[in-house]
């Protein structure tokens, strides 16, 4: 049993998915999230246990809708998808072979599925006999913060003339060739995670990672009907951002080194107070954006409020305050009730200036 298993306690680890990795990459400085995710801790449960349940999660209706659209696109041996790929990418009629890797002979263990994914993709890349065109439910592996995680993708990988694409099926509508910008951006961020993971897999197999295309096929319902349509989405920008963020992610080993050996988030043996203290002892970097992407956000916000932290004001304000950690300190420097240390002289002067402007304005 390694350190991360001790942290989690005797429960099965939660899988990463593109959503969690995209969220992690958005806030790369947060040790707390990195550690909890790396250990596969159920953050939802932990947050509820320590008294800050997240009003968070996907609506059951949205999940059902997404699942039914996904099933529609993949029904009858991906009949809809083949039509779309033939129309948009000119896939030849003879390429229709399909492999489902949601289990291997009834065995759905991660290692088995990942091994099979690698084998099938390698065979397809070699272009030999019996190579497939479509790969449903491939299980990818990704190194996040120095720790390997399995990535459960809801996607299909497919190859055309030796080049591999990621197909992302989303249930938001494309009306008049226009889709909701926020949804498309989120889809692009998630697809970028898959493209990145697929490229890592290729590199590990000694293949050229560039054979995985940066063009993602996005399949959505067209207009107001339930008829699927496909568009190509260039994720080069998201991919570059993701790569940069992942490389900056604090390494888990360094965080673990600073923790005592018997440190644990185990919900069964620890009281809520103890778990709360344990979670609190790992540094977090709260930002108001966390509220929409992290289950621990309410806990971190309460903590930041308790400390009067400048994190509460958002990233822009925090960065503008240049190294001042707490709101009372900022106010103290502004009204000169607190003497500035030598390195705070510059910011203190600015704050006093702002305060003067403010009092003149409201006088």
């Amino acid at each position: 049993m390694n350190r991360l298993d001790t942290l989690r306690g005797p429960v099965a680890p939660l899988d990463h998915n593109a959503r969690t990795i995209a969220a992690l990459a958005v806030n790369p400085g947060c040790d707390r999230r990195a550690l909890l995710d790396a250990a596969g801790v159920d953050k939802q449960k932990t947050a509820a246990y320590v008294g800050h349940p997240a009003p968070f999660g996907q609506s059951p209706f949205a999940i059902t809708r997404a699942a039914s659209f996904d099933a529609l696109v993949k029904a009858n041996g991906c009949a809809h998808l083949l039509r779309l790929l033939r129309e948009t990418l000119g896939l030849s009629i003879s390429e229709a072979a399909y492999a489902d890797i949601s289990d291997v002979g009834g065995n759905d263990s991660h290692q088995m599925r990942h091994t099979r994914t690698r084998a099938l993709l390698k065979r397809a890349a070699a272009g030999g006999d019996g190579s497939c065109t479509l790969f449903d439910h491939p299980l990818l592996k990704l190194t996040v913060a120095g720790h390997e995680v399995y990535l459960e993708p809801s996607i299909i990988a497919f190859q055309i003339e030796g080049r591999f694409h990621v197909v992302e099926i989303k249930s938001f509508a494309v009306v008049d060739d226009q889709a909701d910008a926020g949804q498309v951006a989120a889809a692009a961020r998630q697809s970028a995670v898959y493209v990145h993971a697929l490229r890592e897999l290729f590199a590990a197999e000694g293949l050229d990672p560039e054979r995985v295309s940066h063009d993602v096929v996005l399949v959505c319902p067209k207009d107001f009907a339930n008829h699927p349509t496909a568009t190509l989405l260039d994720v080069r920008q998201q991919l570059a951002a993701l790569r940069r963020q992942l490389s900056r992610l604090t390494r888990i080993d360094r965080i673990l080194e600073e923790l005592p050996a018997d440190f644990t988030f185990d919900l069964e043996t620890q009281s809520p107070d103890e778990v709360g203290k344990a979670v609190g002892s790992v540094g977090a970097r709260f930002a108001p954006e966390c509220l929409s992407s992290c289950e621990m956000a309410l806990f971190c916000r309460a903590e930041a409020r308790g400390d009067g932290s400048t994190d509460l004001l958002g990233r822009t304000a925090r960065d503008a305050l240049g190294g001042l950690e707490s709101i009372p300190a900022v106010l103290g420097l502004a009204d000169e009730s607190r003497p500035p240390s030598p390195e705070q002289l510059e910011i203190a002067e600015q704050l006093r200036y702002v305060r003067r402007l403010y009092t003149e304005a409201i006088a």
Partner: protein, 304 residues
């Protein structure tokens, strides 16, 4: 509400009936004509025991009258009374089974209905398609939920007494591992290679089932009756994903679908059949009679 219209029994033995009706009627009048009271009254008067009692008394009475008329050698009256006796006896029979089932198609079990749909399609098929075909061409009383445990039940039945039934609904096997393919149902009497799913098989099976459905609609048209709306909807939905099978969102024409699907099928068929044939031979050699039908999983090799 006139009292005479309340009952359906013949107008004999009025005393008991009139008593109960009158008391009910009185109650109804005093209690006020709320909906529930009306319902109670209706139930009391139409209650089968009251009706049957009256009919039985009437039958006994008629029999006595028939005997008396016979003794008096009054043949005309005997005939009349006998006719009425038969009528009353029929009414008694009807009253005994108050709501006979409305005439319906002979009710097949879920298993038989699934077999019917699979026989039409001729290839291993997912539950959703079986339900759609059943709805389009047959009784349409199978729901997706009923199919979930079907394969397991069939396997259990086969294990306890192999080949006791004429056919079993079994699994399709994946070509590489000979494990049961997810969500597909097949019929045990099909040749082994039809029940194998290779990489190209999802596509060829889809094309084959589109052809089979189109052929069935053509048969129905040829026989002088048209297929249901659901059948055309099913065919059109499938045809939209076959190149050249349908123009835009028009209704699919069976002949055009058969031609287009057949054209694509010729491209895939050879390599698909080769793959399936090889796997079928392997299955023949490596598997026992149970796993040949229901697949060999890797589950047994899993260690905790």
């Amino acid at each position: 509400m006139p009292i005479s219209k309340l009952g359906t029994s013949p107008p004999t033995d009025e005393r008991t009936r009139a008593l109960s009706i009158a008391s009910c009627h009185r109650y109804w009048k005093t209690a006020g004509a709320s909906g529930i009271d009306r319902l109670l009254l209706g139930l009391l008067i139409r209650s089968p025991t009251v009706e049957l009692d009256a009919l039985e008394r009437r039958i006994a009475e008629l029999r006595a009258q028939v005997r008396a008329a016979k003794a008096a050698a009054d043949h005309a009256t005997v005939r009349l009374l006998r006719a009425e006796l038969r009528k009353t006896e029929r009414a008694w029979d009807d009253a005994l089974d108050p709501e006979p089932e409305p005439a319906q198609a002979p009710s097949l079990s879920v298993r038989e209905q699934v077999h019917q749909a699979l026989t039409l399609l001729g290839v291993p098929t997912a539950g959703k398609m079986i339900v759609a075909v059943n709805e389009a061409f047959f009784a349409g009383r199978v729901t997706a939920g009923q199919l979930t445990s079907l394969r397991r039940d069939e396997e259990k039945s086969f294990r306890t007494s192999p080949y006791a039934r004429p056919y079993y609904l079994c699994a399709a096997l994946t070509s590489e591992l000979l494990s049961p393919a997810r969500g597909l149902l097949a019929v045990s009497t099909w040749p082994a290679q039809i029940r194998i799913i290779g990489p190209l098989s999802p596509r060829t099976d889809f094309l084959t089932s589109a052809i089979r459905i189109a052929e069935h609609i053509a048969r129905l048209i040829h026989a002088g009756e048209d297929a249901s709306l659901a059948a055309y909807r099913l065919l059109t939905g499938m045809a939209q994903n076959i190149p050249g099978a349908v123009d835009g969102f028009d209704r699919a024409e069976p002949a055009q679908v058969i031609a287009a699907a057949g054209a694509e099928l010729t491209i895939h068929r050879e390599s698909d059949m080769h793959e399936r044939g090889q796997a079928a031979k392997r299955a023949e050699k490596q598997l026992d009679q149970v796993t040949r039908l229901f697949g060999a999983g890797l589950k047994t090799a899993r260690t905790a």
